[in-house]
């Protein structure tokens, strides 16, 4: 049921109340996140100093936890633009309570994802080679390679998402500027960019916002499609599949919206925003999680149907290996977290019980991280040549860098809130 509209003054006062000094719990969380990020940085420094041999990467598994993290965090970043742009164009009004958090999550998610292709490089100081630039040897990047498509897609996504977030903040920053004094007023004035709210400003702003949404909407679908082509354009069994783009996009929205709910439930409690971010908003967001879970389940099923209907071969072999081989426990945890547990969201009682919803969404994120790991690692570990098969195990630096990425993301997010 829709709750009655809240007066603008009450909304402003509630939001202003969240802008005070951070409490001790908030400060400790920021320190913990910073410590985790520092641990990740230290692990990376070890890897740079002693070489990639410190990681578990070796022939034939050359892509593993780092690329899993890259795909996971790009996926997390998807919900922000989905909620901002796609739901804006569809006039879904429930987005207004949650879109700022989702947009911020997008920007910090891409900032985290963008680290991994660089961490994954043996010589990260040459990462600028990924971009085309005139040089004395007249060399250019190969635009037929999906890895270069990725560079363009992820960079564009980061820039457009950051612009979307900053432009969206302008009128809110102006409201905070006018409601505060001293240093804080100057801080908010910097983000308000002189905004006053005149009808002429709104005239241009509304049009520009529509264009940002129109640009960002195809971008949402293109970025994860391009990420999926990193795999699908190769000829490795388990990767070379035409269903990868829609499958990856659905998975990205699934994990992204689940992450939004994961962040919103504790946030609304900690900042006393229960009247602004109501259980109805959580209910509607969790319906998106349920819908995308069904799409992901359908994609899993289609992979099996295609492999089993065709002649016995590598595709069938790799899928059977996923379900019964070295990584079978991860595969089954993934299937339970992504396909079975979200079915609980058919119950309205669960959709409107914030802490149960939080548990479901946390499990979805565990499942989605495992999904990327299973897809990436099993196909390489069990490729075309049996003598080349090898079981990959992540090493301490990889765990440290993965934890560091989590810390890096939460550090920025906690500073933002």
């Amino acid at each position: 049921m829709r709750s009655p509209p809240i007066p603008a003054r009450t909304i402003q006062e509630t939001v202003l109340a969240t802008q005070g000094r951070p409490g001790w719990v908030h400060s400790i969380l920021i320190l913990v996140a910073a410590a985790a990020a520092a641990l990740g940085g230290w692990c990376w420094s070890l890897q740079i100093r002693y070489g990639m041999g410190l990681s578990g990467l070796n022939r034939p598994v050359a892509w593993a936890v780092y690329i899993t993290n890259f795909v996971f965090w790009v996926g997390i970043a998807h919900s922000g633009t989905l909620i901002s742009a796609v739901l804006f164009l569809l006039r879904a009004r429930f987005r207004t309570a949650i879109y700022r958090v989702a947009e911020a999550m997008t920007v910090f998610g891409v900032m985290t994802a963008g680290l991994f292709p660089i961490i994954h490089l043996g010589r990260p100081w040459f990462c600028y080679w990924l971009f085309p630039y005139p040089n004395q040897r007249h060399l250019w990047v190969n635009f037929r390679s999906p890895l270069v498509w990725d560079v363009f897609a992820v960079s564009t996504y980061f820039i457009v998402s950051a612009i979307f977030l900053v432009v969206g903040i302008v009128p809110d920053a102006a409201a905070l500027r006018d409601a505060t004094r001293g240093m804080r007023r100057r801080f908010y004035a910097a983000f308000a960019l002189g905004w006053r709210g005149t009808d002429e400003e709104w005239r241009h702003y509304s049009r520009a916002y529509l264009y940002f949404a129109a640009f960002a909407t195809p971008l949402v679908f293109s970025v994860h499609s391009v990420v999926s082509w990193d795999f699908a354009v190769s000829i490795l069994p388990g990767w070379h599949s035409t269903i990868f783009p829609p499958y990856f996009v659905a998975g990205a929205i699934f994990s992204g919206v689940a992450m939004v709910v994961t962040l919103l439930v504790p946030l609304r409690r900690a900042l006393h925003l229960e009247d602004l971010i109501t259980t109805r908003h959580l209910d509607l967001a969790s319906r998106v999680v349920l819908l995308t879970s069904l799409m992901v389940t359908y994609s899993y099923a289609i992979e099996w149907v295609l492999a089993l209907r065709g002649p016995p071969g590598l595709e069938r072999s790799i899928l059977i290996y996923r379900a019964t081989g070295d990584y079978a426990p991860l595969f089954w945890v993934m299937a339970v977290c992504n396909c079975l547990i979200p079915l609980a969201l058919f119950s309205r009682r669960i959709r409107t019980a914030p802490w149960v919803l939080l548990a479901v969404c946390l499990l979805v994120n565990v499942g989605m991280w495992l999904e990327r790991f299973v897809i990436i690692v099993t196909s390489e570990a069990h490729d075309r040549i049996p003598f080349d098969w090898r079981t990959y195990r992540p090493q301490p630096v990889e765990y440290g860098i993965t934890l560091g990425a989590l810390g890096w993301f939460f550090f920025w997010f906690l500073i933002f809130v």
Partner: protein, 167 residues
């Protein structure tokens, strides 16, 4: 910049502000402006402003981005040919991806620049006496020039909480 003379009405209800704007325009006041915390559709409609000129600029920029994307891919492929299995050097299908990304990137950057320029110019040219309530929960309707007494009467009649002459 010297401040303009006129009458400012403060409204709690955007619908009341929209009624006032309509009445003022019907009464012959040509220069009616507003300041509000959100783009209330009824208020924007009552003011009857033309559509923003962003369209041509942004769509043009996106088209330039598309062409730049193709030019970059085709030009660099010819400058540094990678011959693989008899495939064409300038193979257009994969280049569509780069062209798309650049059209979005250039379009978005030009959209941002055009918004900043147009909004700053609009703020300078069509000022409304600023009140901190106008970014919170009140709508300001400003009538520049014209018959001030008549404008005051119309604003009060439409339900303005407060009406004052500026400066």
């Amino acid at each position: 910049m010297p401040s303009e003379t006129g009458v400012l009405g403060v409204f709690a209800d955007p619908a009341g502000a929209a009624c006032a704007v309509r009445a003022l325009r019907t009464a012959g006041h040509d220069d009616v402006r507003a300041e509000a915390p959100a783009p209330y559709p009824e208020l924007i409609e009552a003011l009857g402003r033309p559509r923003s000129r962003l369209d041509g600029v942004v769509l043009g920029a996106a088209a330039i981005g598309t062409l730049a994307g193709f030019a970059l891919c085709i030009g660099t492929s010819i400058a540094w040919p990678l011959l693989t299995g008899g495939k064409p050097i300038a193979s257009v299908p994969p280049f569509v991806i780069i062209a798309f990304e650049l059209s979005v990137l250039v379009g978005a950057l030009v959209n941002l620049t055009a918004l900043l320029v147009l909004a700053a110019r609009a703020r300078r040219r069509r000022r409304v006496p600023h009140d901190e309530r106008f970014t919170a929960d009140r709508v300001g309707v400003f009538v520049a020039g014209g018959d001030a007494a008549r404008a005051e009467a119309i604003l009060r009649e439409a339900g303005a909480e407060e009406v004052r002459r500026v400066p």
